[in-house]
Symmetry: C2
Subunit: 110 residues, 2 copies
Amino acid sequence: MVVDQVSDSELDRLFQALADATRRDIVARVLTGEYSVSGLAAEYAMSFAAVQKHVAVLERASLVTKEKRGREQMVRIHLEGLRRARRLLDDYEEIWQQRVARIDDILAEG
Amino acid sequence: MVVDQVSDSELDRLFQALADATRRDIVARVLTGEYSVSGLAAEYAMSFAAVQKHVAVLERASLVTKEKRGREQMVRIHLEGLRRARRLLDDYEEIWQQRVARIDDILAEG
DNA sequence: TTGATCTACAACCATTTGGTTGTAGATTAG
DNA sequence: CTAATCTACAACCAAATGGTTGTAGATCAA
């Protein structure tokens, strides 16, 4: 079946992390701008602690990293995770294409 | 921020569905072969009902469809969902590339 | 018809998830 | 030094998740 370069639990954490609109929004923000955890927290109608948890989920999924700067914790993108998730979906689509091609071949033969 | 062609809850369900190794395996199987729900259930060390639930999750996420054939329920891939998830990650990477390009420009100017 | 197979779905349970509040430690500003 | 800011983390809670067993309805095979 190949498809899996990466461990199951790693992908679990990755897709799990992306399965929340707030977290996807954090990823989108961090992709373009520079944000501290409290900077992010200011953007959402939830507590600082809640946002802190979301960032922690993204961190465990290797989608972001944190870097201490003074008393702030800057949140930066960690593209690796994004690429891994995308790669799996690419693989899926490739498998699909191959299957379609194979069926075409069979039809051409018959 | 653009990024979202699709509703938040739709993406929630999509990534949520992909955040489980059994369900990813079901997707991979269904991409290449033909499986009924019980055919899938035979592949995993869990109850039929559990697999049934996994298929239901994939169905709600528009990753598979079911088609009744006799007393069996055939599970087929529904590529739409896969493509949607991939598209979002593509958009993310594009945003990242644009940001890198912009920084390069600034450095070139300075 | 009868029995086996496949499915649907409810009820239940333990764990995880996404939120809260509260407390305490660093760091910065005045 | 003192006060404000930013973070970390614990404790708690309701709801969702991933599993189970059990029951019942269709469909097929003999």
